[in-house]
Symmetry: C2
Subunit: 384 residues, 2 copies
Amino acid sequence: MRQVAVIGIGQTPVDEHWDKSLREIAVQAIVQALSEAGREKVDGLFVGNMMSGILSHQENLGALLADWSGMPGIEAFKVEAACGSGSAAVHLGVMAVASGFMDSALVMGAEKMTETSMAETTAALATAADADFESDHGVSFVGLNALIMQRYLYEYKWKHADFAPFSINAHENAMNNPNARLHDRISAADYRKARMIADPINLLDASPTGDGAAALVLVPLESLPSNGMPHIVIAGSASATDSIAIHDRKDGLWLSAAYTSARKAYGQAGVPPDDIDLFELHDAFSIMGALSLEACGFAERGQGPRLALDGEICPQGRIPIATRGGLKARGHPVGATGVYQILEIVQQLRGEAGENQIPDARIGMAQNIGGSGSNIVTHILKRV
Amino acid sequence: MRQVAVIGIGQTPVDEHWDKSLREIAVQAIVQALSEAGREKVDGLFVGNMMSGILSHQENLGALLADWSGMPGIEAFKVEAACGSGSAAVHLGVMAVASGFMDSALVMGAEKMTETSMAETTAALATAADADFESDHGVSFVGLNALIMQRYLYEYKWKHADFAPFSINAHENAMNNPNARLHDRISAADYRKARMIADPINLLDASPTGDGAAALVLVPLESLPSNGMPHIVIAGSASATDSIAIHDRKDGLWLSAAYTSARKAYGQAGVPPDDIDLFELHDAFSIMGALSLEACGFAERGQGPRLALDGEICPQGRIPIATRGGLKARGHPVGATGVYQILEIVQQLRGEAGENQIPDARIGMAQNIGGSGSNIVTHILKRV
């Protein structure tokens, strides 16, 4: 297998882009990534997206975006794995380029969520859960995460306020990210007083919806000049699944697909958790941040909040997370999120993260979660 | 790259399965394919599906079906390329197994179309077209194909009745396929008198919707015993795209993505069109059958109907098509169709096609079309 390098990145700000359609934000990210890579075209396009059929009446995004971004004729597919769609698209693009099936690929995620009513968007998001046994009975995604968080608080004796550092850190880091959805510094008091959504999840536990698109250009490392300039490679790319319905899991507080995919990615990259300089995890809800840290070996079971309370998730801590705002504050344009995460790691490894720069970051990990833990993709990137 | 063999197939009849949900028909096909392959599990699952989010409130089919078919934890993705979703899933599965990323894969297509109203299903199907410039203005998929057929009749001076053999052949071949949606022998008179849908397309030009699921188990050929028994390999697997909106094409009567993907597949398999023993083409509408034959080198431009009128598309003809009924009569459960096509070729190459058996079939080709020609995947299978 060939090593795969990222040679171009592109993104739109995560926002309410009412003046732009899905194809427009997607093409904006694609063109930016191609331009940065100095390419006009790639061999194949992998589009991560979850809800375009429901919310924009548009499927067939592969063909649509290949054409609209000036690459008519190339291979193009939409990949869906709920909120993990973006990183699933990256994963399949890595497979295509590493194997030699393609000599270049554009992998991207795009989602348009703010042109429809909140009720429509919430219903569309719920298609990531088990329709027959969960969502059609009325439980939303926030509701499912609330069940998990409630149980976690009970089982490990944490107080809700102990999760505040997740939200505070994410909001703080987003302050310097021009592409972030939210630019509001928050305090522990703000967190405590935030409006309840689904007990115990309040507004500051939850990531905001948004329109967004992010793109990466992948090529084999061997095709790049060895002129002493550093390259960013995808050293690990692994995915795993779990039951889609929470009640079908033996242990509702353990993200087995996070554990499996992370372990595989560590093996591929040849690095232990201790070597990871930053971790873009899937903090769609603060409870998911804690569970992800535990499944990936950064905290003992039940001790995710401890890491946060000790400041270890902050930029200067042991395992910085959400370094550009995370899902919580950069925003969570579902099918695009996994690509934003990887793009932000590329920025960090390049030393282009500005005020959010993690000093001398050399290895970064991204973990993107589909459903309430049912489809998880983990990537590890290295500067070489 | 390793050669990829098909070692198990499974399908549900294409029908109105009102007593079974999407997951039930999908699992039925998966379990059948695994059982035939003598496996309990594979490394990865690729699900071709287009409309589950809209029509069944269910996305995240990869994780759902991995779990419900007894393979919790494995990698699993949904792949969408409109009506070409099934073969796109096969294509990516071939990539995974050929490259060594996976040592086995289950590739499948599943679609549930008959539990919703015809209006809802028609609107969902239209998401394969360009929402902003085609479907949101009211044109349906039949309408788009009618525009193409109208122009074709005008340009090449055919009469509508000249397309009758496509429909007659498909219906005739479906008579002996227990999994086909329609079992009605039709005549040229029936074709002429059929109810008009969108001039010039009448009911017998159009494929029926249906619920269906089909699955294949893929492994490297090198992993199979060489005991003199024949194996079925996927010798060519290629895809290409075209503009999604018909009005964006320079030539609305030429399926450039069919031409490109077929030419690539011929090259991979090392066979010219003349060596193809049967061709499962995408006769969603009879005009698409003609255009596909032309783009793939079986007829000169504008001469597709000639081949049909001369009987060359019949089982005993030069290039048998729709040998188990095709989309027209086996049925067109959108995201599953591409997998049914390949499954039927496997049956033919194994000599298991019963009354429809093409004598000594050794090489078969399948072509699956997404949108009105915008995303096309071509496969060539060989008995070795």
